[in-house]
């Protein structure tokens, strides 16, 4: 018995020794619940697939919290190897030249096979610089889609299999739902992301000059165009007539939908799993509605979510490990699994094709909508993404102005003019701070 225990402890010591020899790679992320489990599982699988490196994922709080922690750690010379940053932090990370190692360079230096063409353009474009170099590694990407409660449609005498395609049809359906006594007809998550950023891309309208900021930091917001004003005016009109219930700036609206309170919802495609688990009614997932009189609509939608940034100041050996890990994450098998189990879109074309060959989409209707919407047309300068400095504040300004319109305090035109003016101040400050 004693001998056994002794042996066991010896084995433990030996293993600990082996673990010491491994190079640890710190990964700070913001994935909770099932998503966090999945990420941990991937790290474990990677660690078991080789002996040289050990990826250690650490949950560091919400996206802004984790980013703040990493900034503080970087200033103290203690940054993690990999940091998960949400899409609105992209410009901040790109401008921090000394703080990050661009992914394309990391892969090249580590001699890790890497083909930027293998990634979905609508996804990779968001994280690619103007010269076509991929700077961060897209991990979890989603796009807003349109959810419909089929039971509510049936009750209102609407065809549950035919969701509105245009905002005109949407209005007609909304009026019928209202007339049938639906308390909350329509709500939305992420108002700026859905109704300004994706509205613009979906209608091939610029969000800002300089290709939405991708071509240069001297960009200006253009979200006060007549089309934008008209769209926000329409929302305000819906709100006044009781066809639209504002749900908040994040995903609070999703609960209003799956509880059955609201009949229609626009929110992230990544909400699908959660809605499926909670909704006690059949629902459909559809393309975002569009205005059919705006030329070029529907174009393609843009992504949200987060990407992995590699932080500077680490050893070359550990960068080899990081490159291997990113290569591991890009494998079609893993990406297909990520897509089908989470609702995030696959980041490589091979993974998308792999899932397309199975019967997954037939068995889970609606799960392909996000991919189809992102790839609806080849992305234009207006629809490949956006890159605005300090967009955390920029988005907040847009949301404040939308809220002012919905509350009836402002008209859409002056509100969006103010959003542009205030947003541009932020952009100029960012430009000055990142010369």
């Amino acid at each position: 018995m004693i001998r056994k225990a002794l042996l066991a402890s010896l084995v433990t010591v030996a293993f600990a020794g082996a673990a010491q020899a491994q190079t640890e790679i710190a990964l700070w992320h913001s994935m909770t619940g099932a998503l966090g489990d999945k990420l941990n599982e991937y790290a474990t699988r990677f660690n078991q697939s080789q002996n040289a490196y050990k990826v250690v994922p650490v949950y560091k709080g919400s996206y802004p919290e984790s980013m703040t922690a990493a900034i503080a750690a970087f200033r103290a010379g203690n940054a993690p190897h990999i940091l998960q940053v949400f899409e609105v932090g992209t410009a901040t990370m790109m401008a921090a030249k000394g703080a990050v190692v661009p992914v394309y360079k990391l892969m090249k230096d580590a001699d890790e096979p890497f083909n930027p063409k293998a990634y979905m353009p609508a996804v990779a474009g968001y994280y690619t610089d103007y010269k076509g170099n991929m700077l961060s590694f897209p991990f979890n990407s989603s796009t807003p889609v349109f959810y419909v409660n089929k039971d509510a449609y049936k009750k209102a005498g609407l065809d549950p299999e035919k969701a509105p395609k245009t905002w005109k049809e949407f209005t007609a359906a909304a009026e019928k739902l209202k007339a049938a006594g639906q308390a909350c007809v329509y709500t939305t998550g992420w108002p700026s992301w859905v109704h300004i950023e994706n509205f613009s891309a979906w209608h091939n309208l610029p969000i800002g000059t300089k290709e939405n900021g991708i071509a240069g930091m001297d960009t200006q917001f253009t979200v006060n165009s007549p089309e934008h004003v008209r769209h926000i005016t329409m929302l305000a009109d819906y709100a006044k007539r009781g066809l639209f219930t504002y749900g908040g700036r994040r995903n609070e609206a999703e609960a209003k939908f799956f509880s059955g309170e609201c009949a229609m919802l626009t929110s992230s495609s990544a909400a699908q799993a959660n809605i499926k688990r909670n909704a006690k009614f059949p629902f459909s997932v559809n393309f975002l509605p569009y205005h059919d009189d705006i030329k070029g609509a529907p174009q393609n939608s843009i992504i949200g979510g987060a990407s992995f940034w590699v932080m500077s100041g680490k050893t070359n050996n550990s960068y080899k490990g990081v490159a291997k890990f990113l290569g591991f994450l890009s494998s079609p098998e893993l990406q297909a699994e990520w897509h089908t189990s989470t609702g995030y879109v696959p980041i490589t074309i091979a993974a998308a094709e792999r899932v397309g060959k199975t019967d997954f989409y037939q068995k889970n209707p609606g799960t392909d909508v996000s991919v189809r919407q992102l790839t609806n047309k080849a992305p234009t300068a207006n629809s490949k993404g956006l890159r605005f400095g300090n967009f955390v504040q920029g988005r907040e300004i847009i949301e404040e102005e939308i809220e002012a319109v919905l509350a009836g305090k402002k008209q859409a035109k002056p509100a969006l003019d103010d959003a542009v003016r205030r947003g541009n101040e932020i952009l100029r400050k960012f430009e000055a701070a990142n010369k």
């Binding site: 802004p64 980013m67 703040t68 900034i71 970087f74 200033r75 901040t92 401008a95 921090a96 030249k97 000394g98 703080a99 219930t245 504002y246 749900g247 908040g248 700036r249 609070e252 609960a255 209003k256 509880s259 309170e261 300090n390 955390v392 504040q393 907040e396 300004i397 404040e400 102005e401 809220e403 002012a404 919905l406 509350a407 305090k409 205030r422 101040e425 400050k429 000055a432 701070a433 990142n434 010369k435």
Partner: protein
């Protein structure tokens, strides 16, 4: 005769106060100095580039609509919290002071909420008043009130004021009760014999004699509303909607921590620092002198 402890050794007293001084320097003076320092710089988020911009951060603050709005919001918020908190606490203290039976139970119950952390108080009220699932929202909707503080600024303000006041009442109550009990019975009895009714007695005797307590609480409550309400706001409205509940302290946090604008955020802290210093001066000069009749 004043009692004094005399240290023979010349270094021992310094050694004894050293820990306290060290804590003050590390956690108060150093960060304060850093805030002042950074307020003159424009930096990118990671601090890899830094330029001296003089007073530009301050100039920008007072040009910025959202900052001016934040000042207005803070003024409204702290006035509401202070006035409501003091009024309700005083009413409760007067009522509790008159109770003979079961006084301890009433007092304990009234003091209880003070033990609740402000973040918890915020979450509690956020649940009760949640637009779609809150029980009070349900009742309000039944009464025909369109309750949605996610969109309506004045309702959001009301919510954070209620949550803050609820928590602060206990503290005010304790001081008022102590103040009331310190008022000599003989004065009140004399007034009663002269034929003054309870209301008259309150306004002409009790209230003036309570004024030192009231003044002290006034300053403490303003400071509380300015600085200690972060938890309530972060747990409920997070400054929204449209900045309707974004008080100065919350804006410092938001701009510095979430939006990574260190220069602007530091400039705001420096302004806040000036406000605290002013409030402290007021408190020391006037409270020490005592408001007396």
């Amino acid at each position: 005769m004043e009692k004094r402890v005399v240290f023979r050794s010349s270094w021992l007293p310094y050694l004894l106060v050293a820990p306290q001084i060290a804590i003050t320097v590390v956690f108060f003076f150093w960060p304060a100095f850093q805030a002042v320092f950074y307020s003159f710089f424009l930096q990118d988020a990671f601090g890899t580039q830094s330029q001296f911009v003089g007073l530009a951060n301050f100039a920008e603050l007072f040009r910025s609509e959202s900052y001016l709005n934040s000042i207005r919001v803070t003024a409204v918020f702290s006035t509401l919290v202070t006035v409501m908190g003091l009024a309700v606490a005083l009413a409760l203290a007067v009522a509790a002071d008159g109770i003979l039976r079961g006084a301890l139970a009433y007092k304990t119950l009234l003091i209880w909420p003070y033990a609740v952390a402000s973040a918890v108080a915020g979450v509690l009220f956020a649940f009760l008043f949640a637009p779609s699932v809150g029980i009070i929202s349900y009742v309000l909707r039944g009464m025909g009130v369109d309750w949605n503080w996610v969109l309506r600024g004045e309702q959001a303000m009301l919510l954070v004021v209620i949550a803050t006041v609820w928590k602060q009442i206990s503290y005010n109550f304790l001081f008022f009760l102590a103040g009331l009990q310190a008022i000599p019975r003989s004065l009140i009895e004399a007034a009663a014999i002269d034929g003054a009714g309870p209301v008259r007695r309150f306004w002409t005797i009790v209230f003036p004699l309570l004024s030192p307590t009231t003044f002290f609480l006034l300053v403490v409550n303003i400071v509380h509303a300015f600085f200690d309400t972060f938890g309530v706001i972060d747990a409920t409205t997070q400054g929204g909607p449209a900045g309707a509940t974004q008080i100065l302290v919350y804006k410092v946090y938001y701009d510095g921590v979430k939006a990574a604008d260190l220069g602007g955020s530091s400039a705001q802290s420096v302004v806040l620092m000036a406000i605290v210093i002013a409030l402290t001066v007021v408190q020391f000069r006037y409270i020490e002198r005592r408001v007396q009749y």
